[in-house]
């Protein structure tokens, strides 16, 4: 369990690093484009590249954000429940989230397959679109593993509580 948990956490951190690099890439690319545009030499396809990098920024940051409790939730009700019930609900919602992200991951992968088969490319740079769908599919899969780890940790906490 610890080994699995550590591996998932490490993967989430690696994705987060990638996400940060993509964010820095968007800033550098856009600022360079603005400067070069003033000199009448804009970078062709900036719009498309920023869209692609955006998918990496947001998609890859989801698992670590979940580990850091970065998503908003309504907890003022559950905070009033007895500790045992509260932990049970936490395990239940983590598992529900895990199933949701497994479904998202699978469907995004299929959507990527469709894009690849149809040969969908961006307008200017002719960049294939399917790797973006695959990228978000992979990050969704990692997200579901993160939620599984959190559920298992909460369950362990529940047993130790009992």
């Amino acid at each position: 369990m610890t080994g699995f948990s550590n591996l998932v956490r490490l993967t989430a951190r690696l994705c987060y690093t990638l996400s940060g690099c993509a964010l820095a890439g968007i800033v550098l690319l856009t600022v360079t484009d603005v400067l070069l545009r003033m000199l009448k030499h804009p970078i062709v396809g900036t719009y498309e590249l920023v869209g692609l990098l955006s998918a990496v920024v947001i998609g890859m940051s989801i698992p670590q954000s979940t580990l850091d409790h970065g998503h908003v939730l309504m907890d003022f009700l559950t905070n009033r429940f007895p500790p045992g019930l509260k932990i049970f609900l936490e395990v239940f919602t983590r598992l529900l989230g895990m199933i949701l992200f497994l479904v998202i991951s699978w469907n995004l992968w299929c959507f990527g397959d469709d894009l690849r088969t149809a040969g969908e490319v961006s307008l200017t740079l002719q960049i294939p679109q399917f790797p973006v769908a695959y990228c978000i599919a992979v990050s969704s899969l990692i997200q579901s593993l993160v939620l599984l780890v959190l559920a298992l940790e909460k369950r362990k906490k529940r047993f130790s509580h009992e």
Binding site: V27, E48, I58, S61, V72
Partner: protein
């Protein structure tokens, strides 16, 4: 099953998910997916889920959110807020309640580069509260002030709430930014008036600080000019059509980074922290938008905006009363879910009604922002009070008692903006045609 019964069932399911503690963005996606599957068919629902998430995450337009958040986080981690507070303190610290008034001034200036309300509250809680403690300020006054001034970023550009509203409603972000300036300054003025009146009534809660010399005051001014310079480039570039909002966010972030590097305030660990904070906040907002997009498609096929519009029109009351009902729904709903999430969820439903009544969507954006400002400081989902409590260790009940006096001015401002739309609309329609 009729459309309305299905809608009621899915909304009940959604609120059960919220109450159980599932993340709001995930809950919206799940409810929208299940509703779409039941009403249309499961193949379409699986397709919708993948396409909506793909289009939100890879959208060029939505990159504006992480970029403006980055600009604010770089400023917050790079010592810009401290310099602004220092300047405001030098000018006004010697009058009763002056440190708190200085906090309002510094936060207003800081808002020109930081659009995140909790980030500002956290930054000023760590800078201004210890200083006010040193002069024996009452905790209600110091903590209430920093929690409240944090909300200014919801109205003063580059506000994340205005950006999200602009994206949701396909309204010009440049116009929304300009529309927020006058109401933002009036709101800051109401905070100052509240502080002056409060310290007049009870001078012990905010004793006067030390008087600074004029040379010290002038030496503290340059950071204000630099912040103003970056603000003018960002908003001016947007107004003149030189930048897209995404480019404006990038240029602003780059400008703040250069400023903090020149000042030698930005170290590598601080830069990493700014990027991490940006990713966390942006991921939270974009996940909410993705979830709301899926749920929004379910609302569309069940004709929810039509039913809401029919219900509101059927009330046969003046338009202003309908607006007050909408505001009450935002305040009450946002108090239980989370204000940004509630805004993302309901704005596409209410906007058609508002536009049909003849109101301007830009003006509605400002009204929604002011309601959000009030929402983030009133319980039970008073995000800013949570943040200030977390940073200062002061109990939330004390912070709430410090927030309540400001609510009087904020409510008066809300009615002013409701009754006089020109306060919001004059700048955007005068400078951007």
């Amino acid at each position: 099953m009729s459309e309305l019964a299905m809608l009621g069932l899915i909304l009940t399911f959604l609120f059960v998910l919220f109450s159980l503690g599932l993340e709001i963005g995930f809950a919206m996606a799940l409810a929208g997916f299940l509703g779409f599957g039941i009403v249309v068919n499961w193949d379409a629902a699986f397709n919708l889920l993948a396409k909506d998430i793909f289009s939100v995450f890879s959208s060029y337009g939505l990159t504006v959110i992480p970029l403006f958040v980055l600009m604010g986080q770089l400023g917050a981690n790079g010592g810009v807020a401290r310099d602004l507070y220092n300047a405001a303190y030098k000018f006004i610290g010697h009058v009763p309640g002056g440190l708190a008034i200085g906090t309002v001034g510094a936060a207003t200036a800081f808002k020109a580069i930081c659009g995140s309300s909790p980030a500002t509250a956290a930054t000023f809680a760590s800078i201004a509260v210890p200083e006010m403690d040193r002069y024996g300020y009452d905790k209600r006054l110091s903590c209430g002030t920093v929690a409240t001034v944090g909300t200014l970023g919801i109205l003063i550009p580059p506000s994340v709430v205005l950006i999200v509203y602009g994206i949701l409603t396909e309204t010009s972000i440049g116009k929304l930014f300009l529309a927020g300036i006058i109401p933002g300054f009036i709101m800051a003025g109401s905070f100052v008036v509240t502080l002056v009146v409060w310290t007049r009534i009870n001078p012990k809660i905010g004793p006067a600080g030390e008087r600074s010399s004029w040379s010290e005051r002038f030496k503290s001014l340059p950071p204000i000019f630099w912040v103003l310079f970056i603000f003018l480039i960002v908003v001016g570039g947007l107004m003149e059509g030189l930048f897209t909002p995404t480019e404006a966010g990038s240029v602003g972030s780059f400008g703040v980074l250069i400023l903090t590097l020149i000042k030698k305030e930005m170290t590598f660990p601080r830069l990493i922290k700014a990027i991490k904070d940006t990713l966390r906040i942006s991921c939270m907002v974009l996940t909410l938008i993705a979830g709301a997009t899926v749920l929004g498609h379910f609302f569309l096929i069940t004709r929810t905006p039509y039913y809401v519009a029919t219900w509101l029109e059927g009330l046969a009351v003046p338009h202003l009363v309908i607006m007050l009902i909408i505001i009450a729904i935002y305040l009450i709903g946002g108090s239980f879910i989370e204000h940004l999430a509630f805004l993302i969820l309901t704005t596409p439903i209410f906007l058609p009604v508002v536009v049909k009544m003849g109101y301007d969507p830009i003006w509605f954006g400002i009204i929604v922002s002011v309601v959000t400002m009030i929402g983030v400081i009133i319980p039970p989902m008073a995000l800013n009070a949570f943040v200030v409590s977390g940073v200062t260790g002061v109990h939330r009940s004390v912070i709430y008692r410090g927030i309540y006096p400001f609510l009087i001015g904020m409510t008066i401002c809300l009615f002013l903006y409701l009754l006089f739309p020109q306060l919001s609309l004059w700048l955007p329609y005068h400078f951007m045609r």
